[in-house]
């Protein structure tokens, strides 16, 4: 496998507001290589966004952050970079697409020039070449009549078109890693399918690394090669998309998948529910964070934090943080 372009190890992120402190990410590691898509799956508050974007200096506003661990972009330590160096890295090495296109596009500027200026700044193109590049990026992102759209303001485009324009903007700097934070959540079903297909095409053609941050199992199934399931700031399970989505081991992953009906299966699969709600991370207990909602819980779960154990070998190991299931089902581990 290719060497990772973005690798994070033993990341711990504490967030502080005047009234609460929260351990948003608790010892998570991940990496992504050129040409592969890693999906980071979790519900709101699971820490999936801060885990991915935190090391790049993108943090929620108005909170103090304490971040430990290592994070490398192309082998270079990025946690020691100055704010201006980080900013340059975000613009060039990392391309980010958000749920809300208007958080990336300047409403006061025309679409095309915003793209062109990125291409000039980060891809080192001349003004004329940058304009051409911008038009071709718009066309590539599936925007009809790109010459015309070049001179439009963001408010003149529909939601799906804006999402495409933001993807074009993220690509203008020719990034090595594309981070997509809930890229389709706000979109309608038919537009969602278009955007997922677009991300996949770009990834195949450019061979870039993609990190997909989402709670949408359908989007994961369409795009991901590998999957990390995050629960309350800890990795519950990781492996290939096939391993995690079709043979899940962790009770949370199993519950999450059972709660999503399979629209494509012949019979109604039913929606099973996970009881309870995700824990309040300001008052975390020791032990497994899923323990209070778990139907396999044992006394030790409340006191001992489970470590990730390898339950499947291969190019990508399948790892699960639940000794209870592993013991109960006699699953062989390889650690």
């Amino acid at each position: 496998m290719n060497a990772p372009v973005y690798a994070v190890e033993n990341l711990v992120i504490d967030l502080y507001t005047p009234s609460v402190s929260v351990r948003a990410v608790d010892g998570a590691s991940f990496h992504v290589s050129p040409g592969e898509t890693l999906a980071i799956v979790g519900e709101s508050g699971s820490g999936k966004t801060v885990m991915t974007l935190g090391p790049l200096g993108l943090m929620p506003e108005g909170v103090a952050v304490d971040l430990r661990g290592t994070a490398r972009a192309d082998g270079r330590d990025i946690l020691t970079l100055s704010p201006s160096e980080l900013s340059a890295l975000r613009g060039g090495f990392f391309g980010v697409i958000f749920q809300d296109p208007m958080s990336a596009l300047n409403p006061m500027l025309k679409i095309g020039p915003q793209l062109a200026s990125q291409a000039q700044k980060y891809a080192g193109l001349s003004a004329e070449a940058a304009r051409k590049e911008a038009v071709s990026l718009l066309a590539r992102s599936g925007i009809p009549d790109p010459e015309d759209r070049y001179d439009r303001y963001p408010h003149e485009l529909s939601g799906g078109m804006l999402q495409r324009a933001m993807i074009a903007l993220a690509l203008a700097a020719r990034p090595r890693v594309l981070i997509a934070d809930e890229p389709t959540t706000a979109l309608d079903a038919t537009v969602q399918a278009q955007i997922l297909a677009l991300i996949r095409t770009i990834q195949k053609e450019d061979g870039i690394a993609v990190v997909l941050i989402t709670h949408d199992i359908g989007a994961v199934s369409v795009l991901a090669d590998r999957v990390i399931v995050l629960y309350a700031g800890q990795i519950a399970e990781e492996g290939t998309a096939i391993q995690v989505l079709t043979a899940p081991v962790h009770p949370y992953t199993r519950g999450l998948l059972a709660s999503v009906p399979d629209f494509r299966s012949e019979s109604a699969t039913g929606t099973k529910e996970i009881p309870g709600i995700p824990p309040n991370q300001a008052q975390l207990m020791p032990g497994c964070r899923f323990a209070d909602r778990c139907d396999m819980v044992q006394a030790t779960c409340h006191s001992h934090r489970p470590r990730l154990q390898t339950v499947g070998l291969g190019d990508v190991p399948h790892r699960v943080a639940c000794p209870v299931v592993i013991a109960a089902e006699g699953i062989v581990t390889h650690d």
Binding site: E43, S44, P144, S158, G159, G160, M161, D188, A189, T190, V191, Q192, A193, Q194, L196, A197, H215, I217, G218, A219, V220, S221, V222, A224, A241, I242, L245, T246, G255, L256, L257, A258, S259, V260, P261, D262, F263, R264, S265, A268, T269, G270, T271, K272, E273, I274, P275, I277, P278
Partner: protein, 330 residues
Amino acid sequence: MTDVKQADPPAIEAQGLKVHFQTAAGLVRAVDGVDLTIPKGAFHGIVGESGCGKTTLARAIIGLQHATEGTVQINGRDRADWQKQDRKGFARAVQFIFQDPLGSMSRRQTVGQTLEEPLLIHSIGNASERKQRLAELLDLVALPATVLDRIPRSLSGGQRQRVSIARALALNPSLLICDEPLSALDVSVRAQIVNLFARLQAQLGLTIVIVAHDLAIVREVCSEVTVMYLGRVAEQGVTKPVFADPAHPYTQALLSAVPSPDPRIEAPRPRILLAGDPPSPRNPPPGCRFSTRCPVVEPQCRVTEPQLRPVAHSGQAACHLAAAESHAVI
């Protein structure tokens, strides 16, 4: 005549319903000629993409939104007359659940006050009977009695939605209309609320209309479905046959867009990718509203607007290429 038993009127019968808004940018035809009949005891899903008018339709049905044209009968009575003559009686029969439970509750009232308010307004029971009713309501939506003293903000999203459902049930309505009641919830909590709706429907014999965009959930719980596109009904019928053999090309594309959570099913699956976004309801295209994106469009589609007619799954579709014998497949 006396021997002929009057058929039970449907829970909802809308005819020629239109809701137009005058805006600075022009006339928005949010709902533009909808006929809809929902029998008593149905669990009906209204689906479609943003701007298709599904929420406006739901609001117009109960008069939260002024209809520009058309009539709505609820339980056989003209809705507008009913509300004029007996507003409280109407409120006892029909309840609405909003997408954002927090926005539809007072921030200062406790859950107990929130649930008791409809009983007080309708002068139902004395203090101890009301207390008894509150306990029944909490039981119905599976909330612990401890939530009574809490304020909505301190509850989780799923608990808040349970409270708004309990409040809607307080007056024993026969019809519940819900606007995207799951959208604001976490994935793992969504299933809890879906199952709650299904259980309430069976237990209380309610008619439930749910506006949704999650087609997988509609397939799980709704007995019938209406698919809307740009202010009109594209297709309607019994959910299972409609989803198994959709007659309208838009329904086919919409269903194709839903991915399977199983990558082994998803990877080899051919998908229908439509070009472009839905047009603006400000100026819908002439003829069939889907004609600008339809992969099997024919010249007549751009001229004549298709009307709903019977199709193979024994529901109805508004497509020139769809008839009882056959329909286009894209």
